[in-house]
Symmetry: C2
Subunit: 276 residues, 2 copies
């Protein structure tokens, strides 16, 4: 069985994001098994469901092991159709919905595509405005709009400020600006005066100089910018400023964008955009 | 029971993204129940687990209904601690892992934080490079790097190109450039010559003029840019170009970023970054 590639189908009436998130989290727990993942989004008619069953059964026939299906379909009828497939079937909705309905003494709405659609247009617009804000206030382009920021992320060039700001905006509707501390800022050993009025919104990133050097080298090889000496100097200087100015900061070296963002939200007490 | 606000706790040893995705999808099915959602990420020690139980029990005592807990903790020990809480407890790991282990004839690794961490640094770096690519190639700044694009999204100003490009990059590691068609481009009634060599990578967005007008008005009120006439004219002109040039396109009016992105991935046959 060990060389068997398992196919994993994500079946959903919407984007498939919930099914994928669910499935991928589980798959990471089997590092020695090879999986092939297939997303089947927008399965919202009987015909599409029957076609999906056909594809899965075809796969089952030609594979060494049963395929896995992670299904977040809400319609009872479509779920019945899909369950006929020859696979290990994880029915997300049925598994969790029944105990919830019982506890809430309320039937669920059976509404399709609410979780990653735009059912609440006011909140959705807020989120889009946060994305525009993050793009317009990336990389210290301007500090004029910092009054409207929820958080201002500062750090040396390539410490992860931009992806973190964009993630906070896109996923959580948080207005995140970011500002790179330059050589001049670092020399001064204090917070740049443009940032001073917003110090309670500032969150710092630091990074290991060895990793920073690698990232910069890929961008601009054989430059002062990507030299080990420069990276070490900048990281040391910025840490000194963060400590001196009592700026909250996190070391991004071994953390993913998601982990850094979660840490910032938690430490800065930010309010996230909530879908429901 | 109907005026009772339910508290929902997301408990995880990592970011809590899986727990939140899971929970929020289910909560959207109860539009008449009010929920308060609390994320408790990075619960990775016995002490933190005991504190979480204390918080949940405090809530249970002071609320009109049992709180809900969506738990993605992997450690058996910590899960045992948490299960002692007075709540409707959804144990994500146990629910799905046991049947998977049986089918795979393999024990799961019980490794913490793999799904939204940076366990695969090569792939993670690809994803970060995609984000840099999207930022560097936003809004037609330059067409020089279009040879490296996975997809080039085109549309009129404010049709959703930037958030979609950023989402594709951040979530899926797809190198997405975007290019706004200007008045001159629209007059010519053909694809701008700079895009011609890349026509097989191009994906179009259209949007309802009424919605476009609203979005533009918020940005630049009382301008030609945000006038109804201009919006109608641009949308009509771009649709004509898409049809004439046989460009694949999608109407973004009633779609979320996630839905537009999923549609583009599906229709353009793009390969996503897969976590596992």
């Amino acid at each position: 069985m060990s060389n068997c590639i398992r196919t994993v189908f994500y079946i959903s009436d919407g984007t498939g994001i919930t099914a994928e998130t669910l499935g991928q989290t589980l798959l990471t727990q089997f590092p020695n098994v090879e999986f092939e993942q297939v997303n089947m989004p927008f399965i919202n008619t009987t015909e599409k469901a029957i076609n999906a069953v056909r594809t899965i059964n075809e796969n089952a026939k030609n594979s060494c092991g049963k395929p896995f299906v992670f299904c977040t379909i809400i319609s009872d009828h479509l779920r019945e159709v899909l369950k006929e497939c020859d696979a290990l079937f994880f029915d997300f909705f049925e598994t969790f919905m029944t105990p919830m309905e019982k506890e809430l003494e309320s039937e669920s709405a059976h509404t399709v595509g609410r979780s990653h659609g735009m059912s609440d247009s006011k909140r959705y617009l807020d989120r889009m405005n946060a994305v525009n804000y993050a793009v317009d206030n990336d990389d210290g382009i301007t500090t004029r709009h910092y009054g409207n920021a929820d958080v201002i992320i500062i750090g040396v060039s390539r410490s992860g400020k931009t992806p973190v700001s964009l993630y906070l905006a896109l996923q959580h509707g948080i207005r995140a600006a970011n500002y790179p501390l330059t050589d001049d800022d670092l020399e001064s050993n204090m917070l740049p005066s443009a940032l001073e009025p917003y110090r309670n919104k500032i969150f710092g990133l630091v990074i290991d100089p060895i990793r920073l050097q690698k990232i910069r080298f890929e961008r601009r090889p054989n430059s002062k910018y990507s030299s080990m000496g420069q990276c070490k100097h900048e990281v040391m200087a910025i840490k000194k400023i963060f400590k001196r100015e009592r700026i909250n900061f996190v070391d991004s070296t071994a953390m993913s964008i998601e982990e850094i963002s979660t840490t910032i939200i938690q430490n800065a007490g930010l309010k996230k955009y909530i879908r429901k």
